[in-house]
Each structure stands twice: as C-alpha cells, then as structure tokens.
Amino acid sequence: MELIEDILLKTNQLSVGYTQKRKPLPILSGINLSLKRGELVCLMGQNGVGKSTLLRTLSGVQTPLEGYVELDGENIHQLSRIETAKRISLVLTERLNAGNLTVYEVVAMGRYPYIGLDIRLSNEDLDKLDEVIELVGIRTIVEKPIYQLSDGQLQKVMIARALAQNGEIIVLDEPTAHLDLNNRVSVIRLLKSLATTTGKLVLMATHELDLALQTADRLILVDQKGGLSEGIPEDLVLNGTLDKVFDLKGFDLKTGKYQHESGTLGDIQLIGDGYSYLWTKNALERVGFSVVDNGERSIEVMVGDNVIKWQYGKKYVTSIRDLIDLL
C-alpha cells in the first residue's frame, strides 16, 4: 500500500541532459519516479550513464530538458534558491581544502540558509546543531580542524552538515568513494538509520553493490542504454535486472558469490555442514575443484570441540591449507 502523502519526490516524464548550441542533448528521458519519505534509495549504474546529471536535476541544481520534478507537490525548479536550500541538502565527493575550519564551523554552515548575513546563530540554530552532532556521533571531534580528520570522519561531518540544513531530502554523490570497508559500512548504516529515524528521504549514487543490496529500501538502476529500472533490491536480483545493468561477469548475485571456472581439477564430494562446510567449499572452488554431490573423491569436515578436522581418504588435516596441499 502506497499512501499518497508518503511520496516526497516525484518525477513526471523527466528528461535530463544538457543543451548544446541550443539543441537539447538528453542523457536519460521518460523518467517517472516516486520516492517516499524515510527511505534509503540508491542510484546505481556504471560510470558515465548519467547518474550525476540525474542527481543534479533531482536536487534542483540543473533544469530538466523536459518534464518536471515535484517535491511534496511543488515544482522544484520554481522554488527560490533559499527555499531549495532549506529542503534539499547535498553531500558531495569533492575534496575540501578548507583545512583550518573546525568541524563545528563546517556543520554550522548547514544553518546558512536560515541565518542572516552576519552569520549569527539563534538558539534554535544552536539546538539543531547540537541535535545533529549527537545524531551523527561526532561529539568528540567538534573542535578539531578539518584537516586532522580521517576520510570516514570527514564524511560524517559532511553528513551532519547536510542534516543541519534540515532538508526533507539528503542527496549524496558516492558518499563512500574514498573510504575503507569499515567506514563504508558505518557511513551506510548511519544513512540507513537516519532515513528511518528522521523520516528524510536519503538518495545516493553509489557503486557499492553489496552494501546497497543489503541496506537500500529501493534501487534505481540506470543501464548503458539509458534505461531506468526501479524496485526493491531483492526483486531486481531475482528478475535478473541487476545482472543486465551491471553486465556482471562471473559474479552470481543470487548467491552473492564470485563464480569460479568450475571443474578444471575434477569433482570432489564434500560432506559436512555449517560455516566449516561453506568455507571449505569456497576454498575448494577457488583453487579449481567442483564440489558435487557424488564424486570419486570425498572429503569430510568434522567439527569437534574447538577444532575442525578434514578427512581425505585415510588422512586427517587440521587446516584448509594442508587439505589443499594434500589434494
């Protein structure tokens, strides 16, 4: 059941692209999307398919070639500059070189659409800043200058700044691009929980297929030919849309695994269960065996108290490495 009032961002026959010599050059067209409050939406597609252009148009920075974007029933491109800033906030990938600003100063910039030219923060602004600093969990670093932050911390600061701007939509352009795995997970988890707790629409372009599949409420996929598909991640996996869009080679989305060239070293029957079975199977497939139900050779995984043993023929080994050596 989709309630009409839940829909925050809606596009109608939207066509995005550029104008060159007065001629429209559409990159993506015929886009009809309805995005709801409280959702984490990931925009995915290979490089150069027009994700950024779409994102810019959806956030009101770029005017569409055709159609329109509706934010809560209002045409986004008719909002004033300040009004747009109060409703949509951005997190970008570009590197900052405002090294000497403190974290607090950067987060406080989120309040710029609300305050006068003298940059005086009201009590209301201060409360809001306090709230977002708590929400994002950057309390301990607020006095630090930006240049001392790690990439992960910096991204959180920029997210806090976007939150302080208090828009209904936060648009992020590859927020996890420069981050290590740990930080990627923590940033995406943060975004997911923000969408849920604050009821904002979080819209991000990303290449993190695995994380997007596990956290996004909805995916928008752009394929190489400029076609758009949209849906919840699981549906898109099962109906093969994701495979098509990403032209995945050797990665099986349904199992979430990289598919190995099978069978070069022969078949092997593997007996066992649980994690020990799974990881043994992984290792065998990686080095080039096919794991089958009935093979000439068989390996049994035996899990005892705190030890795992593998039996192959009459020999026992205590690590997968020894097992592979044995084979």
């Binding site: 800033a85 109060k86 951005l90 090294g99 600003l101 100063e105 910039m109 989120g110 940059i119």
Partner: protein, 344 residues
C-alpha cells in the same frame, strides 16, 4: 588557546597598529622630536615648518600606508577564497595591468605632443584618472567574461591573459619612447605612498570604506565558498551575485590603491596567509578583522623601513613590500610546517 588568540586579536593587533602608526609619523628625513609631534596634534606651540611636515606629509603618508595595507590585504583574501588558490592576489583579475596600461598611455602619448607630464597642472589627478580608467576597462571586460564563463577558474585565466596583453602593449610603447618617459613610467611602477594630498586621501578613503563594507555582506558566501562552489550553491548562495560583489569590492580596493599609489605587490598575497597561520582559522568572520589589522601593520612597517630612518633616501615601496614580506611568510611556513592544510 582559543581564548588567547581571541585576546591577541582584540587587543594586541590594534595596539601594534597604533604603535606603528606613531612610529611611522615620528620618522622622516627631518628629525622632529616626539614631544613636538604630540604638540602638533594637541595644538601646542610648534615650529611652522614642522607643523607643515606633519600635517601635509607625514600624516597623509601614514594614513595612506594604512589604507593601502588594509585594502590590498582584504582584496587578496577575497580573491584567494573565490579562486580557491593560495597564489591569488588582488591583481589576478588584471587590475594593476589595466592601470599600468592607462598610465603608460598617458605618459607615452604626451611625448608625441612634446609635453612632459610634470608641466601640466593637475598632472597627478591625470595619472590617477588614467590608472582608474585603465583598471576599469580591464575589469569591465573581465566582468563581461564573468557573465559568460561558468566557473571562477576560467575567470582567473581570463584575468591573467589580460595581464599579458596589457603588459605586451606597454612593452611596445616603451620600445618607442624616450629614456625620460620610460624612467617616469618606471617610477610609477615602483609605487609610492607619499604625495597624496588630503583631497586625494579622502577619495581613496571613501573607496576603501565602500569596498570594506561590501565585504561585511560577503562573509557568509565567502565562508560557504570554502567548501567549493557546488556546496555553496546548495546552501542557497547566489554564486553569480557573490562573484559580482567580490569583483566590485576588489576593483574599489585594489583599483583605488593602484590608481593613487601605483602597483604595490605582495601585501595582498601574503597578509591573508599570515592571518591564517597566526590565527589558525579559515573562517572569514575571524579572518577579516585579522587581515585588516595585519595588513595595516605590515604596510606601516614596510613604509617605516622604506624611509631608511636617519637618511634622506626613500626606497621604492613596491620593492620593500616583497623584500620584507617574503621572508616573513617563509619564516611562518617553516615554523608551522603544515602550510598545505592552512590554505583555503
């Protein structure tokens, strides 16, 4: 630490400025005892020639130094933020090259009619007007370019190109000119803080005040620009308007200075860095007052040294600013080491 810096900004900088202003007025080719200088200001009994020197030479010169320092430094700060480039300064948009073109045209074309500029009544105003017109002309073209180009970086390149063009034209004119004219032009390029009459000082002061006032309106957009143009736009900053205001403010500040005092290098580039390094901030709310005071101090100091205390010689101020300023910046960088993080 922060409180200490705050205290330093609020108290120390104005005090040092005042001190340098007093020293600046006290020194000159004619030795005047300090008590007599005070007498001049409180209306005591002083030799007429001394009173004349103070009122008509030293005080205008000191105030000019102060205005020049403030104007160039603030304009340099704006340019560095707008272009996100630590090497930007007040003259990157071609203001000084435009002014030099105007002055060169006046000096060299008069030679065609066989008149020397010094023979004309109101020659100094003529130079000022020529410099202003030249600077305005170049700025006008840059402004037109600003309407068309989308990003500030292209604007920077347009400005630099105009610098090259005007430089080339001036070279060609010099090639066909007499030694006397070339020397006259050369002296103009040395810059000079002296020789401004009170009425000229008022005009310069007015331009600087208006230019500074524009800056008060620009604090918020300038801060937002520290995050980059796209972020600034997303926070509701009107980029085009901001760019226009910055250009207008800089043309008043740097254009005014160049018209009245000739090109004065380095201060505009160095002072913002000094302020950033001393106060470890990029926030314009804190930076602007620091830049204003440090700009005044640096210029007053350069002028004091340029007068070669105790002698009757005065060194070209344009050379002094670089000669004194560059080592200071190098010293601060070496001490702070992490310059790269400090630049905005």
């Amino acid at each position: 630490m922060n409180k200490q810096i705050d205290w330093m900004r609020r108290m120390l900088l104005p005090l040092v400025t005042l001190l340098f202003l007093v020293i600046n007025i006290s020194l000159g080719s004619v030795p005047i005892p300090f008590s007599s200088i005070i007498d001049v200001f409180i209306g005591g009994d002083v030799k007429d020639s001394w009173e004349l020197i103070i009122w008509h030479f030293r005080l205008p010169k000191a105030l000019t130094a102060l205005l020049v320092g403030v104007a160039l430094s603030v304009s340099g700060l704006q340019m560095q933020t707008l272009f996100r480039n630590p090497l930007a300064g007040p003259f990157v948009l071609g203001i000084s090259s435009g002014a030099s073109l105007g002055v060169a045209l006046v000096i060299f074309s008069f030679s065609i009619f066989g008149i020397t500029l010094s023979q004309i009544v109101g020659g100094s105003w003529l130079m000022i007007i020529a410099a202003s017109l030249g600077a305005s002309l170049v700025l006008l073209v840059v402004l037109l370019a600003a309407q068309r180009v989308k990003d500030s970086m292209s604007l920077l390149i347009v400005g630099l190109m105009f610098g090259s063009i005007t430089g080339a034209i001036v070279s060609v004119m010099q090639f066909y000119s007499s030694d006397e004219q070339i020397q006259m032009f050369l002296i103009w390029t040395f810059g000079s803080l002296g020789g401004l009459a009170w009425d000229e000082l008022y005009v310069l002061g007015g331009m600087v005040v208006v230019g500074l006032s524009l800056n008060l309106l620009l604090l918020k957009p300038l801060n937002a620009l520290l995050l980059g143009e796209r972020y600034a736009q997303s926070m509701g900053v009107n980029l085009k308007l901001t760019r226009w205001l910055i250009i207008i403010s800089t043309s008043l500040l740097a254009g005014g200075v160049t018209a009245f005092c000739g090109p004065i290098a380095f201060v505009g580039l160095a002072v913002p860095h000094m302020a950033r390094l001393l106060f470890t901030t990029s926030n314009h709310v804190k930076l602007l007052p620091a830049v204003i005071w440090i700009g005044a101090i640096v210029m007053l100091f350069c002028d004091i040294v340029a007068q070669l205390p105790g002698s009757e010689q005065v060194l070209p101020i344009n050379a002094m600013t670089s000669l004194i300023g560059a080592p200071i910046v190098i010293w601060i960088i070496v001490r702070k080491r992490n310059m790269n993080n400090q630049l905005s």
